[in-house]
Symmetry: C2
Subunit: 332 residues, 2 copies
Amino acid sequence: MEPITLAHGSGGKKMVTLIEDLFLKKFNNHNLPQGNDFTSFEVSQKKLAISTDSYVISPLIFPGGDIGSLAVHGTVNDVCMSGAKPLYLSASFIIEEGLDLKILEKIVSSMAEASKKTGVPIITGDTKVVEKGKGDGLYINTTGIGEIPSNLNITGSNAKPGDKIIINGSIGDHGMAILSFREGLNFETTLQSDSAPLNSLIALMCEFFPQINCLRDPTRGGLAACLNELASQSKVAIKIFEENIPIKTEVHSACELLGLDPLNVANEGKLVTICPPEIADDLLKTMKSHPFGVNSQIIGEVLEGTDVFMETSFGGQRKISWPESEQLPRIC
Amino acid sequence: MEPITLAHGSGGKKMVTLIEDLFLKKFNNHNLPQGNDFTSFEVSQKKLAISTDSYVISPLIFPGGDIGSLAVHGTVNDVCMSGAKPLYLSASFIIEEGLDLKILEKIVSSMAEASKKTGVPIITGDTKVVEKGKGDGLYINTTGIGEIPSNLNITGSNAKPGDKIIINGSIGDHGMAILSFREGLNFETTLQSDSAPLNSLIALMCEFFPQINCLRDPTRGGLAACLNELASQSKVAIKIFEENIPIKTEVHSACELLGLDPLNVANEGKLVTICPPEIADDLLKTMKSHPFGVNSQIIGEVLEGTDVFMETSFGGQRKISWPESEQLPRIC
């Protein structure tokens, strides 16, 4: 099959053909084929949320997903961490000359499928091609727009002493799946990325519990970075309980083998929520009723102070710091 | 000065420092420092426009601009080709390991200055670092959001036979500036990119002439691609007059020397507008009153049919085709 050439990104006939035959066909929706460099759309709420991410994950296709589905899930998740209903995505491709068109097609198809499943259409885009050796196959940027219901006020600075902290399932799956696949490590079971769109889970949570104070997805830097961010933004301390944190056995083993702390490993289908203590049990029950929340757990609580620390399974305490140095490059 | 390392993109302490000490300081605005992965904002119109572009221009700094200012101007321009008032930008950086932090600072400063001058703040962002040899210094994605006034209906499919076609100044400046700088060609005068934000010119045009049918910026593929796109979307023919098309002498000479057609060369501060014939002269006068429209010209008209063609200075006619093959890679 034809490889991508610089002409596919130069604004001429080849680029138009690529856009019409691949992108427009796969991303097919009524907003997309307007043929302009912009796309127009209507909103019904005044308060919007925007988020952007460039995906540079290596390899492009991995157990549990690929850069295309990840670019949809990741940005949809960031937008809805405001409590917003994600409306639309933009998608921008930086393709390395020589990429097999078949691989591009496979990834664009997967992206289109993820967009359809999450109900968030891709309505505008851009294609650039760079010379061989100036990229790594494919980088994708997605930017998402959503509407924030007027009864919500969810932000990282809203955690209050006494609040409970809930996570919707096991940590470290994404990072360890990428790392072990990339390094050719063989474990008894194949580790799978947890890459998933969290918009329907969050819509359910926010419909019944608009009192939720914080939502955040523990991606790069893992749960440790996520909790440190929240503690720092809200000017509070956070205490988590090691025995309550869900970790799959195979992730635990892989981390031990490689000397990694699962608290620092990236997730792509997880959220941390902080809520007033009086709604915590009911919120947990609601989360458990959703396919992406079955393994939800209350993992800790907010205290006065400034640090993040963990009560270990042996009854000790250790400080959970910001991950300092490079652990896993290019996992998203 | 310290070079960028993979740790600057890994979600840890180094990334937080880079974001706080560089991006937040330079892009300083009241929306940005919310500390979340999303940013929320309010709109007052129902109809919005969105546009995205990844900038991969080489070299990063060139006569008349750099990748930072270009990433602001380019996306602001795409958004306002809908007649919209651009409100906000997102900015996402893919940095190659080893990039000098000084160069990154220079580009981010230029981007911040461009954002301030155009009045379109950067309110959310993302930073990724890829290994040496997997990028080319820096790629920047910007995505823009704007509000479309309810009295406008500007789209590429609105051109009607009889309409007049106006351009706001000379063509080919950007592409020839990049090419001659990149190839080390010396002309008598230094060619400068025309990179400029067109939002205030467009706001002026749309305020007094809401009847405008089309707006488009002739970027990649130049005026030839732009007019072919408009003719194809509107299902009309377009006729332009060679002697009316503004081209600077030095751009003309450089194109002749290199065997390039200035109609195919990219612009970054130009717009083509198509309007009903009865407002063309007054619209032209209004455009000429704006600093970015001083050299505006009526360059042609819309006819029934399907082709784009040019009446040459010698009275002949030639078909203006889509640029077919790669001319100038990585000029935006």
